[in-house]
């Protein structure tokens, strides 16, 4: 683990002047990841998404590292091609440097559209780190629901009304899907816990083979809260057990942070206007309880896995 003083000496990979929203979680996440990777020479691939669009508006780029964008669905396939070319050139003696490979994708580019190419790259065992910044919907195109959107969240394609209350399905658990590929390192972290995030990225970069980190990234525009609350929401997600911080290292589960007493999920839901319909005009106790029960179920399963697979 690096201290903040040490990190402040490093050259970051992403600079100011990008056009992410004020208070954007993805901006915080990208800076922290690139600082954690600051001791290495890195090559970055981005899937289409907020981060890619806002940081590379032509003719500007906020990146200070070699960077490639290809399409929405294939950040993992692109980076695996880059990594294979590098291996070949290194073998031929045409490249001497040691490089690390990073791919960034949002939840749309990872959970939905990029899942097939991600799965392929993980199975082929390329040496790269895939970062998924999960802001729980397609924010860049106008807040459409994705398979990462939590149940009962309102988006433009899962609105709430008299009959339905936002998205009708529970989110899918990509971290477990990735862990099922039996890769050396899988982790889940959140914006608001810089220490956990930086430690996990540093740890992942030391491992050879495919790695995956899923980062909970609050989005002020889509979740509808004041921009200064980004860290608070990340922290509440972890404190309520909505987003557990854990890692799977060579099949061994470890929960990195266990809140002494989990806060009720209500506290996390209440400050986001996308869940407003659960509280106004009248409180929908049944729906809130359903979310709470789902969290408890997830925690129990995770604790069992930690106990059994350790």
């Amino acid at each position: 683990m690096s201290s903040l003083k040490e990190l402040s000496q490093r050259k970051g990979g992403i600079t100011s002047g990008h056009r992410l929203c004020s208070g954007c979680g993805a901006g915080i996440m990208a800076r922290q990841v690139m600082l954690a990777a600051g001791n290495y020479k890195v090559v970055v691939a981005c899937a289409t998404g907020c981060l890619e669009v806002a940081t590379t508006i032509y003719p500007y780029s906020a990146w200070k590292v070699p960077w490639i964008h290809n399409a929405f669905e294939n950040a993992a396939a692109t980076i695996s091609g880059v990594e294979t070319a590098y291996k070949s050139l290194k073998k031929q003696g045409k490249i001497k440097k040691d490089l690390k490979f990073l791919a960034f994708g949002g939840d749309g580019g990872t959970y939905d559209i990029g899942l097939q190419s991600l799965s392929g790259a993980l199975e082929r065992g390329h040496d790269f780190l895939y970062i998924c910044y999960d802001n729980e919907a397609y924010m860049n195109t106008g807040i459409q629901r994705s398979s990462a959107t939590p149940k009962y969240a309102a988006t433009t394609t899962s609105p709430y009304g008299e009959v339905i209350s936002g998205k009708r399905e529970f989110r899918k658990n990509i971290t477990e899907i990735v862990a099922a590929h039996n890769i050396p390192y899988v982790a889940q972290t959140a914006v608001g816990y810089w220490n956990d995030l930086v430690t996990k990225v540093e740890k992942a970069l030391e491992v050879k083979g495919p790695k995956f980190i899923n980062i909970f990234t609050p989005c002020q525009l889509g979740w509808k809260y004041g921009p200064e609350k980004t860290l608070e929401i990340g922290k509440l997600a972890v404190e309520t057990g909505f987003w557990p911080l854990y890692e799977v290292e060579n099949g061994k589960y470890k929960i990195n942070y266990k809140p002494q007493e989990k806060k009720p999920v209500e506290e996390f839901l209440k400050i986001q206007k996308r869940f407003n319909h659960l509280f106004k005009p009248e409180r929908k106790e049944k729906l809130i309880q359903e979310i709470q029960d789902n969290i408890e179920k997830g925690w129990t399963e995770l604790e069992k896995k930690e106990k059994c697979l350790n």
Binding site: L4, K5, L7, S8, Q9, G12, I14, T15, S16, G17, H18, R19, L20, C21, S22, G23, C24, G25, A26, G27, I28, R31, Q32, L35, T55, T56, I57, Y58, P59, Y60, S61, A62, W63, K64, V65, W194, Q220, G226, P227, E228, K229, T230, L231, E232
Partner: protein, 96 residues
């Protein structure tokens, strides 16, 4: 490219090289409606504001907070919120 800032599609060439970190030529400070003001006297230089700034707008020199870069700060207020000693205050842009 970065020396020659292109503002409109009319004078943008069909293809060109984009330089690393050239977004520094695009000042996002004008988005701001509230301005963070840093008080050096109470600041303990814990760097929490620096690590959590989405816009890399807090400048650190030798491990200490040097200044806030108002060219790029979008005024989100995360720094003021995260500061444990309240050394950053958000002031209305108009009041200055």
């Amino acid at each position: 490219m970065s020396k020659n800032i292109l503002h409109s599609w009319k004078n943008t060439p069909l293809a060109s090289r984009v330089e690393e970190g050239s977004s520094k030529n695009f000042k996002t400070g004008s988005w701001r409606s509230k301005k963070p003001v840093h008080n050096k006297e109470i600041c303990t230089n814990c760097l929490q504001c620096w690590i959590n700034c989405p816009d890399n707008a807090i400048k650190v020199k030798d491990g200490n907070i040097d200044k806030i870069d108002y060219d790029f700060c979008k005024g989100c207020g995360i720094c003021a919120e995260v500061c444990p000693v309240k050394a950053i205050e958000m002031k209305n842009e108009k009041d200055e």
